[in-house]
């Protein structure tokens, strides 16, 4: 049994990154604090993984202010969505291959 490992996206190897991506794919946009609460992540950890996804051009960042508070919204980019779907398909294929 041989599984093509190149289908797995290196960017999603980390669990938190995959979780971030699944939230952003399901929503138009999501802000930092809500992400933090939902995923129960620490500031630093979440920020560094968001940075990594941004570097891959999988997400875009929109910074704005609500009153005086900074508000950072994250949006999944087209390539990010495609990469996410491809990654999920790879996971599903893996299960199918193991069954046969």
């Amino acid at each position: 049994m041989k599984i093509s490992l190149e289908q797995f996206d290196k960017a999603f190897e980390n669990r938190l990154r995959l979780q971030i991506m699944s939230v952003l794919v399901a929503n138009e946009s999501y802000d930092f604090n809500s992400l933090k609460e939902l995923l129960a992540a620490t500031d630093g950890n979440l920020a560094s993984h968001l940075k990594a996804l941004e570097k891959e051009d999988y997400i875009t960042v929109k910074k704005s202010f609500i009153g005086r508070k900074p508000n950072t919204q994250y949006v999944a980019s087209q390539s990010g969505r495609e990469a996410f779907i491809k990654h999920l398909e790879a996971l599903e294929n893996l299960i199918k291959n193991q069954k046969t």
């Binding site: 669990r15 995959l18 939230v23 399901a26 996971l91 299960i95």
Partner: protein, 206 residues
């Protein structure tokens, strides 16, 4: 990677996508309570109308006399406020129990999406009241409430959409049959809510 771990990974992704975009702490029990309030309100309304008809000896089931309209309106507002309060309290309790934040992008979108049809409906019904077009009030309540439910259903359990569609259907039918307002009120706000509440309560094992 083990098969089970991939399965759990996939199902955790699915639940995350759902939890992040939808507000799923809506309490089924609050639907039942809203239905009970509506039935109680309808019962008192029926008695008021009866009394008024007896004393006036004028009749016709097709007319609601303007003298009891303020009382009926107050009753409807009381039912509405009681229902909203119960719903908010039970839902907050539910979300605390589930550990879901009650104020997150999902619930914000839910509120904004139901707000537009509800506020439009509220203003429209106020206009109907002021212009004494009483026969249209119950249909308008049902239709706008149904529209609000359908538009909110994208951000919560999809079952809410069905409740909304039934309310719209009832509202339209009610508009076709003048004089049947109270009956449709009982079905739409009373019976449907109680049914829906029980279904939700057992379906999602709250």
């Amino acid at each position: 990677m083990k098969e089970e771990s991939i399965y759990s990974e996939l199902s955790s992704i699915r639940s995350l996508m759902e939890r992040s975009s939808k507000f799923i702490s809506l309490s089924g029990l609050s639907g039942v309570m809203a239905g009970v309030y509506a039935l109680a309100g309808a019962f008192f309304a029926q008695r008021l109308i009866q009394q008024q008809e007896d004393s006036a000896h004028t009749g016709g089931e097709y007319t609601v006399h303007s003298s009891i309209v303020p009382q009926l309106t107050l009753m409807a507002i009381a039912v509405l406020l009681l229902s909203i309060t119960t719903c908010v309290i039970l839902t907050l309790r539910q979300s605390r129990k589930k550990g879901e934040p009650s104020w997150h992008p999902g619930s914000k979108r839910l509120l904004t999406s139901i707000a537009l049809p509800l506020i439009t409906g509220g203003i429209f019904i106020t206009i109907l009241l002021l212009r004494a077009e009483y026969w249209l009030i119950v249909p308008a309540c049902l239709i706008f409430y149904g529209l609000a439910l359908v538009s909110g259903s994208h951000y919560t359990f999809s079952d809410v959409k069905w409740l909304g569609l039934f309310e719209i259907l009832l509202g339209l039918t009610c508009a076709l049959l003048p004089g049947s307002g109270l009956l449709f009120w009982v079905i739409g706000f009373g019976v449907l809510h109680i049914l829906y509440g029980f279904i939700m309560h057992f379906k999602y094992k709250q």
